[in-house]
């Protein structure tokens, strides 16, 4: 029988031989370590670096105009993490999600690799810098020669600091007019009003000094103004608990800022001015009530509260045709109520927004292009083709410009239409500075050598000037760095000192060029007079900003803080209206205006006025790389080009729209489970009264009846009998049982520690900077780019496809729960950062068949990737649902789901394993940082110092809500906070999990009448 040939003609014996050899070969491939891996040394070792030890270069974040200070964590020549600079007066060590994601711009796989030139057949093709510069020099010469230099145009993405002055100097040398500084996110109306009222563009907003905050559409926690400093101030204000200001938000939709308010007054878009007039006594309450659809009593109460509370802080931030008028009324109101000097501080103004061109100026420039008056256009950083309404037809206007140069580093919509692309360095590769506040210079230095063959625009301009004999003498500095140092107040010594700290004192040179003459803006049609059945609100997305964040997968996978939707555009519609129209979440709506139509799925939302629909701005790119192109819709496609007549600010909220149900449906890509708590006590809150009772011990019984009450006796000792059993400390010795593994006598000495975290929900604003910080630190893959989707007969590369299947990987997520509002009235939003609770008695541990998850003696619930075989029992047994499974080989370049295409992988944190396919992963409490601190302490012969280090989420948190540390050592801040009377553990009471995360209850401030029992 053994001699019978098999059907393939191979005899069994031979087959076994082949199999045997194959087995050996497989083993050799599978297990061999004979591969040649090189150890490449430096040629000359840079003095200040040690391999595998990070250096932190202080620099400035350029993701928005604010100019926060950052530390570039750089190791072995690569910058892989941005952290806030604690010495910086603006952001005091915090950093928002967009700032965190800057590294994904640096290593973006779709960046231009080098200069590009349009060839004879009209395609952009790679060229050399020499050829590109020669061409540009020739074009500049031609423009000068033709005498039309005065009509040339330079559009620059706004930044404060020396560059605008340098640029104007350069332009003036060529006889060109001053540049236009573009920032589509800037609230030009408020800036203009502030300038008129206070003489500064952005006074410091001291939320913590206020007793009442009234925001009329000013989304100071979203994209309005300087996000991080405002969040820090607001969180500091809320941390005053009983003394904290009550916060009332007035606006047509409840933004993230609105969700942090104690009261939301839903008004019609366009009625904000009437409300402000009524509040300030200029207009009647009845008129305001009619216009805004707000009950008179509500306005009356707000007016009474506003006049009776000192000091208040009133803000406005609408993007409508009357925005500046509104801002002036509000500024006047602040003056009347004594807010100026206490809560509005013009003396401490933020100067980052000085010099921004108004949207009307930009529009006039586009008109000039369309008229064929612009012989040469240079664009750096700005992307007007995307950020300007399609109705303006910027792309057509660009066609009338004979020669267009882009300094964009990314193939965005505008760069793709240019004739020459001279890619700029990323901010992390550049020298520069910012002037975020008077007498504060925030320096910007590169963290690493350029990733691609790019050149800093300032250096390119200097090179061009040097080649031009007429003006070479004006640009003697060899490069922009030298130019900066030469002009730095205090010279190179002061510059070097400032580099160390990240900030210096003084003022940078102002632009010598006269500003462009102001244009008369085309006033927006009042929204009430436009055609349509619903008001349309277009607002900038918190994560994507003006759309420039859309090419960064972290920000695409960043669930919107309010709706929890990612990788998708949506139309917010009120639930009552939705019922009337028969619309459910996911039904595709057609939003049509006189300018065009967009279609996007509906998101049925309590937090929007019933006559209003809202669409976030930032998606709908047609170019801009693999993560941006083709995802979502651009609401700019349906906007008219109207402006605030006084300030020239673009009116985003300027039209009504006709909303119809198309009949099509698409599932909403959301990371949300249930929007309600169903009595689970996950996000808990107290009113001010309850807090006072708690402090006085009056409400003790009631409080203890709540689920998961503090019982802080669990910390620091946190006895965990089951964890002890899992460690093999099984004995009948009752003492062992009690102590679990936290015996201070444990020989390793580690058991003295109990790593723990507190999350102050009174501070947390739900901004999700922690989420992005965690992605950055822990090599978390993004899973839902279109190319990562498994292609089936029904699904072809749908963005968000993996998230629809519940495969998101965010180790820390923000859960957002609605409280109340079932009757269509006001409601409360609560945010809870949810991460692995590192339970002392973890349900995940005993169910793992291979001990891949266990409890370490220092209190961590550890996931051991190399032990994990992927049964997912742990995840099924986790009540917090914080364990995430690698369904695909996200870390393997050859797989279609690869999450770090060249060169995003350069961002990976070398301290953290990139997990493989089929293993479970979860929050590790940044164990790599713990070990690093321990190693360093040991090397220095000391113990780890209290608060010496913290986790990535806590480091980034712009509201300082998260505190991490050793709860067993009273010198750590976390040990004190864990004992706070507001503390509670999620699910402790029901499930006996002994979590290491202590949440501190949010404190709500009900309206005065309500608390009086009216």
């Amino acid at each position: 029988m053994s001699e019978n040939p098999t059907p393939s003609g191979v005899r069994r014996r031979e087959f076994l031989k082949i199999l045997g050899a194959g087995g050996v070969a497989t083993a050799a491939i599978g297990c061999s370590s004979d591969r040649v891996e090189k150890l490449i040394p430096y040629l000359n070792h840079p003095d200040e670096t040690v391999p595998m030890v990070s250096n932190y270069y202080a620099s400035t974040c350029r993701e928005c105009s604010a100019g926060c200070g950052v530390l570039l964590e750089t190791r072995d020549g690569r910058t892989f993490k941005l952290e806030g600079n604690p010495d910086h007066p603006l952001n005091r060590g915090a950093l928002c999600a967009r700032g965190q994601a800057a590294v994904q711009g640096l290593y973006n796989p779709d960046r231009y690799r080098g200069p590009m030139m349009r060839n004879a057949s009209g395609r952009l093709v790679p060229t050399t810098w020499d050829a590109a510069l020669k061409l540009l020099a020739q074009k500049l010469g031609a423009v000068q020669g033709s005498g039309r230099a005065g009509s040339a145009l330079f559009l620059n993405r706004h930044e404060s600091g020396s560059f605008p002055a340098f640029l104007d100097e350069w332009l003036a040398a060529y006889g060109m007019p001053a540049h236009l500084s573009v920032d589509p996110l800037a609230d030009n109306a408020v800036i203009a009003a502030n300038r008129q009222s206070y003489g500064v563009s952005w006074p410091w907003l001291a939320f913590s000094a206020a007793r009442l905050i009234v925001s009329i559409g000013a989304d100071f926690l979203d994209a309005w103004g300087a996000n991080v400093p405002q969040q820090l101030e607001f969180a500091d204000a809320r941390a005053r608990l009983a003394d904290a200001p009550r916060f009332v938000y007035v606006g047509p939709r409840r933004s993230l800022t609105g969700c942090n308010a104690d009261q939301w007054i839903a008004c019609r878009p366009g009625s904000e001015l009437a409300i402000a007039n009524a509040l300030s006594g200029r207009g009647s309450l009845d008129d305001a009530a009619t216009a805004s659809d707000v009950p008179v009593a509500t306005l009356q109460a707000l007016k009474a509260e506003l006049t009776g509370t000192r000091p208040p802080l009133v803000l406005s931030g609408v993007a409508a045709g009357d925005a500046m008028e509104l801002a002036l009324v509000v500024n006047e109101l602040n003056k009347q109520l004594g807010a100026v000097g206490t809560t509005v501080l013009p003396d401490r103004a933020i100067t980052s927004f000085d010099g921004i061109a108004t949207d009307a100026d930009v529009n006039a420039a586009i008109d000039a292009m369309r008229a064929g008056q612009v012989p040469l256009l240079m664009i750096r950083g700005a992307n007007p083709v995307f950020t300007t309404p399609r109705y303006v037809a910027v792309a057509d206007a660009l066609k009338k410009v004979p020669f267009k140069v882009s300094f964009s580093s990314y193939p965005d919509e505008t760069a793709e239409l240019c004739d020459l692309v001279l890619p700029d360095h990323h901010a992390i590769e550049s020298w520069g500075d910012a002037q975020p506040m008077a007498n504060v210079i925030s320096v910007q230095q590169p963290g690493m050598a350029p990733v691609y063959d790019t050149r800093q625009t300032a250096d390119v301009l200097i090179t061009l000037a040097k080649a031009n004999p007429g003006i070479a003498s004006k640009f003697a500095a060899p490069n922009y760095m030298r130019w900066l140092i030469d002009r730095y107040p205090g010279g190179s010594t002061a510059f070097t000192l400032a580099l160390e700290k990240g900030v210096g004192t003084g003022a940078v040179a102002a632009s010598p060029a006269p500003r462009r003459p102001a244009v008369t803006p085309k006033a927006a049609t009042p929204i009430g007079q436009t055609a349509g059945d619903m008001y349309l609100v277009v607002y900038p997305s918190a994560a994507l900003g003006d759309g420039s964040g859309a090419n960064k997968p972290w920000l695409q996978e960043f669930p919107d803080p309010v709706t929890k939707i990612c990788w998708q555009s949506w139309v917010e519609i009120n639930q009552q209206t939705a019922v009337k129209l028969g619309v459910d979440t996911g039904d595709i709506l057609r939003v049509e205006t006189a300018q065009g139509a967009v279609e996007a799925p509906a998101y049925v939302f309590m937090g929007i006025h019933k006559d209003t629909v809202a669409i976030p701005f930032g998606l709908g790119h047609t170019a801009y790389g693999r993560y941006a192109a083709g995802i979502g819709v651009n609401p700019g496609d349906v906007l008219p080009a109207g402006f605030d007549a006084k300030s020239g600010a673009f009116a985003w909220t300027a039209t009504k729209a006709t909303v119809t149900k198309t009949g099509a449906y698409t599932p909403i890509v959301t990371t949300e489970g249930s929007a309600r708590q169903h009595g689970r006590g996950i996000a808990q809150a107290l009113t001010v009264q309850e807090l006072a009772d708690l402090a006085a011990g009056r409400e003790k019984e009631k409080v203890e009846a709540m689920p998961g009450m503090p019982n802080t006796e669990y910390l620091p000792g946190l006895r965990s009998p089951m964890a002890a059993d899992a460690q093999g400390v099984v004995s009948s010795d009752i003492k062992h049982k009690e102590q679990g593994m936290y015996s201070p006598d444990h020989w390793s000495g580690m058991a003295k520690r109990r790593w723990a975290m507190t999350v102050d929900l009174a501070r947390c604003t739900g901004c999700q900077a922690c989420v992005t910080a965690c992605y950055a630190e822990n090599n978390i893959p993004t899973v839902a780019a279109p190319y990562q989707e498994v292609h089936t007969a029904f699904l072809h590369g749908v963005a968000g496809g993996n998230i629809l299947k519940g495969r998101e990987m965010n180790w820390i997520r923000l859960e957002r729960y609605w409280e109340g509002g079932e009757d269509g009235g006001d409601f409360e939003a609560r945010f809870v950062p949810m991460l692995c609770q590192h339970c002392g008695n973890a349900p995940c541990e005993p169910v793992c068949p291979v001990y891949a998850t266990y409890h370490s003696p220092d209190g961590l619930n550890v996931q051991v990737y190399n032990r994990c075989v992927g049964t997912r029992y742990c995840s099924n047994n986790c009540p917090y649902k914080v364990r995430y499974f690698n369904w695909f080989g996200y870390g393997e370049p050859a797989r279609p789901q690869y999450a770090w295409p060249e060169r995003l992988s350069w961002q990976l944190n070398p301290d953290v394993t990139v997990r493989g396919k089929g293993v479970m992963e979860k929050c590790s409490f940044c164990v790599q940082r713990i070990r690093e601190a321990e190693h360093r302490a040991k090397a220095e012969g000391r113990a780890v110092r209290p608060d010496e280090f913290t986790t990535s989420c806590a480091q980034a948190c712009p509201s300082r809500a998260i505190t991490f540390g050793d709860a067993a050592d009273n010198d750590w801040t976390v040990a004190k906070l864990a004992l706070d009377q507001r503390g509670y553990h999620v699910f402790q009471e029901q499930l006996n999990t002994f979590p290491a995360v202590v949440y501190l209850k949010k404190v709500n401030h009900p309206a005065p009448a309500a608390s009086a029992g009216a």
Binding site: S748, N866, A939
Partner: protein, 207 residues
């Protein structure tokens, strides 16, 4: 509280531009598709440590005995970061040339020893002249999921020879230890030296 390490004034841009980086930190999962894929088990991890006794041929036959025994150099002179970093540090070519600018390949007859030409020094100087780093072949390799740090071991008094063998006697370095986990644990439980007893739960090295 937020600073984890010192901050530095001026980045070594020039140096960064000159040469690549010690590959060790970044080879992991994503840098080198060809090697990574080949080396992965079904779970996507490189399957194990490099084998004991491995002794690859190096681009320069670097004689440790000459430098350590004859000249009395300390390990830390070249592997300068072993006591302050997870990575021991490979000497920059400039470090070699600190001496070998003077000590060339052609040694004259002296002190009764005949004249000799050193291929190694000649090769080194060639690399230096071409401004190229020496492509040393890595010998010791632990999988990506192991976070081995030199610093705490050296600072605990573990000698280099404990793990690497008598390198000062090796004319061609080979892998002395097995580098498998049992070998690590054996020392961590205190079997090698009771004073070196250390934690040995998973999260000490695997994260």
């Amino acid at each position: 509280m937020t600073k984890r390490r010192k901050r530095v004034v001026v980045p070594g841009l020039a140096a960064l531009a000159v040469v690549a980086v010690l590959l060790s930190a970044y080879t992991g999962a994503t840098q080198q598709p060809d090697t990574v894929i080949k080396d992965r088990g079904s779970w996507g991890y490189s399957a194990g440590s490099s084998p004991q006794g491995r002794s690859p041929i190096q681009p320069i036959a670097f004689p440790h005995p000459t430098h350590v025994q004859t000249l009395g150099m300390n390990c830390l002179y070249c592997h300068f970061s072993a006591n302050k970093s997870p990575d021991p540090g490979m000497p920059a070519v400039g470090t070699c040339m600190g001496c070998h600018l003077v000590i060339g390949p052609n040694r004259p007859a002296m002190n009764g020893r005949p004249a000799r030409k050193s291929e190694g020094i000649a090769t080194l100087q060639k690399y230096w002249a071409q401004k190229k780093p020496v492509p040393w072949v890595r010998i010791h390799h632990v999988p990506d999921y192991v976070n081995f740090a030199h610093m705490p071991h050296i600072n605990a008094g573990v000698t280099c020879q404990t793990c690497h063998g008598q390198v000062q006697q090796m004319n061609r370095v080979y892998q002395y230890a097995s580098l498998n986990m049992g070998w690590c644990i054996n020392c961590h439980v205190g079997n090698v030296n009771p004073k070196w007893k250390a934690r040995y739960d998973c999260s000490v090295c695997h994260y």
